[in-house]
Symmetry: C2
Subunit: 208 residues, 2 copies
DNA sequence: TCAGATTTGGCACTAAGTGACATAGCGGTC
DNA sequence: GACCGCTATGTCACTTAGTGCCAAATCTGA
């Protein structure tokens, strides 16, 4: 599918936009500057994105999705705590993925002061929530259209969002440092607490 | 405080903007049209709002806040189910408040097709979540800065959001009709399920 | 009624975003 | 390799979103 090529292009732009938004702020960053940094014409940028603030959505989207994709591989017989401790460390494989994670985290730490960033972040979270629905449905053995599944996905995503925001602001605006296990603990605890379906504990084995 | 005067002005504009967004779509509605409908100069509209899509935020904000304010008056010795059944019906008092509710609900039913509306809706929900934090903190006897309180507020707000979206799309795009008790039941059930702190049941009486 | 402060409008301007068409690149086919 | 159709991109003129600046209006209090 060549949809992914477009996604790659959008992501490339998003990385540059994120850099500029972080360095100069959203207001002081022009569409021209983003286009120039990405090595594209302005026109192409506006073909990729409906607005300036949407330029960073793919970055949040991809980082959010990396986490959600990690959950997709979550074996039924493993608890959330065990799974995250075992796998979260290897979620960001390449240098690029790590850079994306840092870039996203930095921007998240600016959510309070830059409404445009919050907007993009929330939009991307909504997409991640959609992806999460399918995973939770599979794990709970329910239909993705089921209201309870949607509710659980929304609550779990909200939990991730709160932890994210908390950790990112603590890191980038208060200079705190987090060791890896602590992040796993907090994410797992929040997801467990917020989950409205019994998905966090090992599940009774089931055919299929 | 004259901050509320500005809020009234913003809300007045938002009502017109919502009408136009609903009738013509966001794209086909110009800033000029909004200003004209509100009887203001374009300049004043852009002083009130940072972007066109933000023009409807106050409508979502006020309807969301009306619900949150209802929860503020929630007595400690009453369960969420009882409280909502007893009070939700009287939440929207004036004709204007009812019109606001309908206008917001109609727009929510367009969330799938109009990203700009989703953006505004999510931003307003984030504000409502902030307001909810204080209420939950009070009810749970915890500090508003407490992580668990923020988590509970986020999860509860997510629950309200999912119910909202579900009911509004069912109403306006599938023509379903909801009786009042059903709405109460669904909201109460979702909030109870998603709440991560024991706030939904009557609380042991406590001085103060 | 006057002074001072705040709010609004008018207008010129910059920047965001679109439409229409030309061009470049990229398989496939002969 | 030349030809073809297809899609992605660029160019440029254009509309609309959004800001800066100053003047007019409106509000406030003595």
């Amino acid at each position: 599918m060549d949809q992914s090529k477009i996604e790659q292009g959008r992501l490339a732009v998003a990385r540059h936009a994120a850099e500029l938004f972080w360095r100069d702020g959203v207001e002081k960053t022009s569409g021209d500057a983003i286009a120039a940094a990405a090595g594209l014409s302005k026109r192409t940028v506006w073909r990729y994105f409906r607005s300036k603030e949407a330029c960073i959505e793919p970055l949040f989207h991809v980082t959010g999705l990396r986490f959600v994709e990690l959950l997709r591989a979550w074996p039924r017989e493993v608890s959330i705590e065990t799974y995250l401790h075992e796998t979260l460390g290897s979620m960001l494989q390449t240098e690029q993925e790590i850079r994306d994670g840092v870039a996203a985290a930095r921007l998240i730490s600016r959510l309070k002061t830059e409404p445009a960033i919050r907007c993009a972040y929330l939009m991307a979270s909504a997409q991640a929530e959609d992806a999460l629905v399918a995973i939770i449905a599979a794990r709970a053995g329910l239909n993705p259209d089921d209201f309870d599944v949607k509710l659980c996905a929304a609550a779990a995503m909200a939990a991730v969002r709160v932890v994210d925001e908390d950790i990112c602001t603590a890191t980038f605006t208060h200079g705190r440092r987090f060791e890896h296990p602590e992040v796993c603990d907090r994410l797992a605890a929040a997801i467990r607490t917020a989950s409205t379906l019994p998905i966090c504990d090992p599940l009774a084995s089931q055919a299929g």
